[in-house]
Structures are given as structure tokens and as C-alpha cells.
């Protein structure tokens, strides 16, 4: 391809992207087609990848095709394995894409589609993709070290400790809020609960099949499991229509929370192969298939967005969660724009699989772009719904009222017309008793997805099946995050407690397993219980807490990245990580301030506690929960402040020449792959 032709192509991509973005941003009054969002996203990612990531790769990281990666130098056929770049890309994407990019954009859609979409695009291209890319490369150059280890080596002891505490905290809060999303999706839903309950015997059957009948044939077993899950969805309809059986699976939020807490403990303490490994495979199988199917559905249907670009709730009075568009839109959408959790994956398995250093760009930057596109699709799924329906599903009873007529009237008064009869008909069409007050984002996403699927495949008759397919898909992989996260948290706790008393560090010692499992499950179980008992639906307080902790972890990652870049002598390019770092500090610190001290009781934890305390029936438990949330937020902010101070101190010392910068990189070893490829 000639250079002129390439230039023309990129100019065309830029013009098309600008046109699509202008349409998304400036269009007012009439509905716009969802394809404008897709085109804007694809063009933005293409330009970001082609130009920005290439700039970072060439000028800052100086990717070296001659340098051997740890996968090559430490190859052991187990953890360190040089792998094809596309295979690593798929593996990395499967590890980073979880429920976050689906739930966050759905919740942020209360501001309209515009703020969330712009944040997903800019946040990913200038923040999330950069973070994943640089942390991956820095880990590759340090034998695949974790973020915590790099923070300790390059920033200092405080940085290492804060990274450790931030990771544990985010795991606990994440698991609590994820469990709450599942509870809100399954409460009073016999169909959904039956389907998810059936995944347990299906997983056990898969485990048996995999170990005894067809050892090692995981793809075949997962396909078989998928067929069984589809049968369970079909059977769920029958169960929900059979009163004697429906009663068994119609559970309250508290019963579901209790069951999930027991499940989490069992999942952490039982052998993995029995239940978790097959479920994990099944979940990944369904996840990859559904994401692919959703993209095809959106392209085939090209739906119109009914949600306006901006709603009145940008002023902070939103029913889904309270708080102004700044900073709350930016902490609500973490995965899909920038997520600190990704830094753990980029400094976990992935750096041990990369065959050539130059492939870090495609895997680190590219896989995050793919996840960001998933977030755009989630935004579309939420915004194809009539806004009245969206708000009826996502608003807690404490805001819109318990009775359907009252809720419908409240939402209509906000300017989003909806009637109780319409909501009843919608619930009937998807096989549910009611869709009101299903906070958490998952049910709204499922309704949007069912809308897209049923219009592209099967018509209205399959709406109920598609809805429960979407609920099963979300609940299944949220539960997978829950059990995997509980185990990771348990191991981290065991590692730490091992320094206090050695036997507690032994991962196969049962008293230690039970104690640490109970501690981790107790911690996230408390947040779950708090969310279930919260009259405002739990999401209002817990999702921002999760967003803050996730973005604070990204702050730690960006501190590490900026420190390394400065130590590399590339201070003139440090803005690439420093600017996202400053943005993260601005949004997390502002959001934390509001969550702790805002005088509006719907936003501030302390003012809510004060309001409860001055009320006629003060509930000591709810007051304690608010104060606990304030303390957790304050502690996280204080710890991150210490990391920022420590990092800034290192930068000043390096830049002033008072200390010689010492990078803890592994020494250069020439790769054999370069000569092999030449030969």
C-alpha cells in the first residue's frame, strides 16, 4: 500500500470519526441511531491505536524486538510460556472483561448517553489502554512482577503496602457490590433463580465428565454445559409457571444474600475442580459467545437510542445513584474507561505469556480497546430502552415509591412518561412478576439485550427467553468473579498472615483456609448485607465506593508507571501517565469528599447517618453502616495520598539529581525468536 493511500485512509477514518462524534455530541431533539456510537468508537480506537499507542511504544517504552521476554528466558511450560500474540490477546481479553463494563455504563446512562460515551472513549484511549499497556511492558521487563512488587521496588515501601491494601479493599468491595447486583437481579424471580441454581449440578456434571469420561476436553465439555444451561433456561419458564415449584425458587433479597454468602465460603474452602473450574469454563464460554452475539445483534438491528444525550439528572438528583455528572459519571464507569483492576492482570498472567516485547502494544492497548467497545455496547443496550422503563427498573423503592402506580407517576413527572400498565405488560412479556426497583444495572441491561436479540432473532415470542438468557449470563459470570475473587483474597490474606504466624501462611492447612475464607467472605458479605438492607437499594452507596476504590488502584498503577518513566530519563513524555493520574486524583478525591461530607443525605454518608439519627425511628445498624462507609472511603484516600507523596518525593529527588535513578529491570538478553524468524 503506498504511503499516499495510507494517509488518505487515515484522514478518512479521522473525518468519519469526527462526524460520528459530532453527531453523538451535538444531536438534539430526535433519536439517533446506535450505529453512530459504534462508528465513533471504532474510529476513535483505530486512531488511538495507530497513532497514540505507536507514539508511546516508540518514544517512551522503546519496545525492543531484540530483547527476550520472561516467557522466553524463564520458559517452564507452566507459568512462563511464549505464546502466539493473538492467543495472548484472547486470553488477556477474557481475563479483563467482567461484569464491570456491562453494569457501569448502564448505571451511568441515567445522565443520558453522552457523558458516559465520551468518558468511555477518552478514558480508554488516554487512560485505560495506556495503563494496561505500560504496566504490562514494565512487568515484562521485570520478570512478570506484580503491581504490588513493582510499587515496592520502584516507588517505596509505602507504595507497596498501599497497593496491597488497595487490592484487598477493592476485592472486598467489588465482591460485595457484585453479589448485590446478582441479588437484585434474582430476587422474586423463580425463573432466573432456577436457571442459576441449575448451573451448580450442571457444573458438577461437567466436572465429572471432564475428569472421567473425556479428560482434558474442556471446550467439548463447555459446549455440552452450554446446551444444558439453555435447557435450564427453557425449563425455568415451566418452573415459573408451575405454582408448586415457583414457590421454591421465589426468594427474597435477604434469602438470596444468605445463600450467596454460603456459596462464597464453600467456593473458597472446597477443592476447585469440584465446582469452580467447570463453572469458570462455562462462564467464559457463555461470556465470549454472548459478547459476540450482542455485537452482531446491534449491527444487525441498528437500533435507535431512546435515552436523550443528557438528562436532568446531571445536576446530581438522579434516582439510580445520587451525585453530579462530575465526578460521579467517571467513577461509575471504571471498567470500559480505566480500571485499576486491569493492572493486576497486566502484571499477572499476561506478561508471562508474551513472546516478543513488541507484542505488548497489541495485547495491552488493544485488549482494553476491545473491552471499551463492550462498554459502548452496554451503553447502547441501556439507551435503546424507553427512558421511563429504564428509570422504573433502576430506581429504588425509597425514591419512586413501592406501588406501581406511584412509581410510574413519579417517573412520568420527571419527564419520562411510563404507565403501570406498560410496565406490567413488559414484565409479563419477559416472564417476570415485576420489573420495578431492580437496581444494580443487570436487569436493565438484560431487558435492553433481550430487546436487541428478540428484534434480530426470534421476534417478541423469544423476549422472555432472551431476557433470562441475559440474566443467566450476567449472574453466572458475576458468581465466577465472586468465587475466583474470594479465593484470590483468601490467598493474599494467607500470605500476609503468614508473616504473623507461619502456619496461617500455609495455603493447604485447613484451619488457615477456613479462617481466612471466613474473614474474606465475612468482609464482602457485610457489604452485601448492608446493600440488601439499604432502603435506597444499596447501589447508591456501594457502587460509588467500588468505583472509588477501583480508580484509586488505577492511581497507584499510574504512580508506578510515572515513577518508572521518570527514572528512565523520559520526563518530557511523563505527561502520558501523569495527566491521567492527575485526572484520577481529581475524580477520586472529589467523589470521596462528596461521599463522606456532602450535606445532601442521598450523597454524603455522614449527613445520611445524621439524618437517620435525628429521625423518629433511628436505626443503629444503618447509621453504623454509613459511618463505616465513610471511614473506609477516608482510609483509602489517606493511603493513596501517602503513595502520591512518596511517588512525588521520588520524582523530585530524581529530577533534582539528589539521587541516582535505579530501575529494577531484568538485564537485557537477546531473543532467539528474532534470528529464528529471520531464518
Amino acid at each position: 500500500m503506498s504511503k499516499t493511500f495510507r494517509v488518505v485512509i487515515w484522514i478518512a477514518v479521522a473525518v468519519l470519526g469526527a462526524l460520528a462524534l459530532a453527531t453523538v455530541a451535538l444531536h438534539r431533539g430526535e433519536q439517533i441511531n446506535a450505529m453512530w456510537l459504534v462508528v465513533a468508537a471504532v474510529c476513535t480506537y483505530a486512531l488511538g491505536y495507530r497513532f497514540y499507542s505507536k507514539f508511546i511504544a516508540a518514544k517512551i517504552l522503546a519496545l525492543d524486538s531484540q530483547r527476550a521476554t520472561p516467557a522466553e528466558r524463564l520458559e517452564n511450560g507452566r507459568d512462563f510460556v511464549p505464546t502466539n500474540k493473538w492467543v495472548v490477546f484472547g486470553h488477556h481479553f477474557a481475563a479483563i472483561a467482567g461484569p464491570g463494563p456491562l453494569v457501569g455504563p448502564v448505571l451511568a446512562a441515567q445522565f443520558g448517553y453522552l457523558p458516559g460515551t465520551l468518558w468511555i472513549l477518552t478514558g480508554a484511549v488516554f487512560g485505560g489502554c495506556v495503563q494496561d499497556f505500560v504496566i504490562l511492558l514494565f512487568s515484562i521487563r521485570r520478570d512478570g512482577k506484580s503491581l504490588t512488587e513493582m510499587a515496592r521496588d520502584e516507588v517505596g515501601r509505602v507504595g507497596g503496602l498501599v497497593a496491597y491494601v488497595a487490592v484487598i479493599s477493592i476485592i472486598v468491595i467489588l465482591l460485595g457490590v457484585c453479589a448485590l447486583v446478582v441479588v437484585n437481579a434474582l430476587k422474586a424471580s423463580p425463573w432466573g433463580t432456577f436457571t442459576i441454581a441449575m448451573t451448580i449440578p450442571i457444573a458438577l456434571l461437567m466436572g465429572f465428565y471432564l475428569r472421567t469420561l473425556r479428560p482434558g476436553k474442556v471446550l467439548e465439555t463447555s459446549a455440552l454445559g452450554f446446551v444444558l444451561v439453555m435447557l435450564a433456561i427453557w425449563g425455568g419458564q415451566w418452573v415459573s409457571q408451575t405454582p408448586s415449584l415457583a414457590g421454591w425458587f421465589t426468594l427474597s433479597a435477604t434469602s438470596l444474600a444468605f445463600l450467596i454468602i454460603i456459596y462464597g465460603f464453600a467456593a473458597s474452602a472446597l477443592p476447585v475442580w469440584l465446582l469452580l473450574a467447570p463453572r469458570d469454563y462455562l462462564s467464559t464460554f457463555v461470556k465470549l459467545g454472548t459478547i459476540g452475539l450482542l455485537s452482531l445483534g446491534i449491527i444487525a438491528l441498528r437500533p435507535s437510542l431512546h435515552m436523550p444525550p443528557l438528562t436532568r439528572f446531571i445536576d446530581g438528583t438522579g434516582p439510580v445513584f445520587a451525585g453530579n455528572v462530575f465526578p460521579f459519571a467517571f467513577i461509575t464507569i471504571a471498567c470500559g474507561a480505566i480500571s485499576g483492576f486491569h493492572a493486576l492482570i497486566s502484571s499477572g498472567t499476561t506478561p508471562k505469556l508474551i513472546r516478543r516485547e513488541t507484542q505488548a502494544r497489541m495485547v495491552g492497548y488493544g485488549a482494553m480497546m476491545a473491552e471499551s467497545l463492550v462498554a459502548i455496547m452496554a451503553m447502547i443496550a441501556a439507551c435503546v430502552l424507553q427512558p421511563g422503563i429504564y428509570f422504573a427498573i433502576n430506581s429504588p423503592a425509597g425514591i419512586v415509591g413501592q406501588a406501581p402506580e406511584v412509581a410510574a407517576a413519579t417517573i412520568t413527572n420527571w419527564g419520562f412518561p411510563i404507565s403501570a400498565a406498560e410496565m406490567h405488560a413488559l414484565a409479563q412479556s419477559i416472564g417476570e412478576q415485576t420489573l420495578y426497583n431492580r437496581t444494580g444495572g443487570a436487569p436493565a441491561f438484560a431487558v435492553g439485550m433481550a430487546h436487541i436479540f428478540s428484534h434480530s432473532l426470534g421476534g417478541q415470542a423469544l423476549m422472555a427467553i432472551w431476557y433470562h438468557f441475559a440474566i443467566m449470563f450476567e449472574a453466572l459470570f458475576i458468581l465466577t468473579v465472586l468465587d475466583a475473587g474470594t479465593r484470590v483474597g483468601r490467598f493474599m490474606l494467607q500470605d500476609a498472615l503468614g508473616h504473623v504466624w507461619k502456619p496461617l501462611g500455609r495455603t493447604s492447612w485447613y484451619p488457615s483456609i477456613l479462617t481466612t475464607s471466613a474473614l474474606i467472605v465475612g468482609a464482602w458479605g457485610y457489604f452485601l448485607w448492608q446493600g440488601v438492607k439499604d432502603p435506597l437499594g444499596g447501589i447508591n452507596s456501594l457502587w460509588p465506593l467500588f468505583g472509588i476504590s477501583n480508580q484509586l488502584l488505577a492511581t497507584v498503577a499510574m504512580c508506578v508507571a510515572t515513577t518508572i518513566i521518570i527514572k528512565m530519563g523520559k520526563v518530557r513524555y511523563s505527561a502520558v501517565t501523569l495527566l491521567p493520574l492527575l485526572w484520577l486524583v481529581a475524580i477520586t478525591f472529589t467523589a470521596s469528599w462528596h461521599k463522606i461530607f456532602d450535606p445532601n443525605p442521598r450523597i454524603g454518608f455522614l449527613s445520611h447517618a445524621a439524618q437517620l439519627a435525628s429521625g423518629p425511628a433511628a436505626n443503629a445498624r444503618l447509621i453504623f453502616n454509613d459511618r463505616l462507609d465513610a471511614v473506609v472511603t477516608g482510609t483509602l484516600i489517606a493511603m493513596i495520598s501517602l503513595t502520591l507523596i512518596e511517588s512525588a518525593w521520588v520524582w523530585v529527588r530524581v529530577l533534582s539529581g539528589s539521587t541516582q535513578p535505579k530501575l529494577k529491570e531484568s538485564p537485557f538478553v537477546a531473543t532467539r525468536f528474532a534470528t529464528e524468524e529471520q531464518a
Binding site: T83, N84, A97, L174, P215, V272, L344
Partner: protein, 73 residues
């Protein structure tokens, strides 16, 4: 006409080979994600033939490291 059909056959073969390559890549990716490749590597490293016992040994060894892997939100 003869040379034209020759070109057609050649381009058809090229397309087929591209398709096969892409398909093989997708299968390899899925095999990596679903740990089938890890099992193959284990068999190769341990000089074992595929069997129930070998798979049980693989899972025992593999799950220790797999269970420590974070999974993103």
C-alpha cells in the same frame, strides 16, 4: 482462459489457506483460554500420555497457580 482459471484456482487456494490459518488461530486461542493447551504442555513436560490419572495430576498442579489469578470486574 486457461491462465485465468489458473489464477482463480491460485487465489482460491490462497483464500482457503488464509481461512484455515484464521480458523486454526481461533481454535488455538480457545484452547489456551480453556486450558487445553496447558494440559498438552503438561503432558509434554511430564512425558505422560493423556489419561484420567494424567488429567487429575495436571489439575492438581495447575489449580494452585490458577486459583491465585485475579479475574477482573
Amino acid at each position: 482462459m486457461k491462465s485465468l482459471s489458473k489464477i482463480d484456482a491460485q487465489s482460491c487456494e490462497q483464500e482457503l489457506s488464509k481461512f484455515k490459518h484464521t480458523f486454526a488461530l481461533i481454535v488455538s486461542t480457545l484452547r489456551e483460554i480453556f486450558d487445553e493447551s496447558a494440559y498438552d504442555r503438561f503432558l509434554h513436560r511430564s512425558q505422560l500420555a493423556p489419561s484420567r490419572g494424567a488429567y487429575a495430576a495436571f489439575r492438581k498442579e495447575y489449580e494452585v497457580s490458577k486459583a491465585r489469578r485475579s479475574r477482573c470486574c
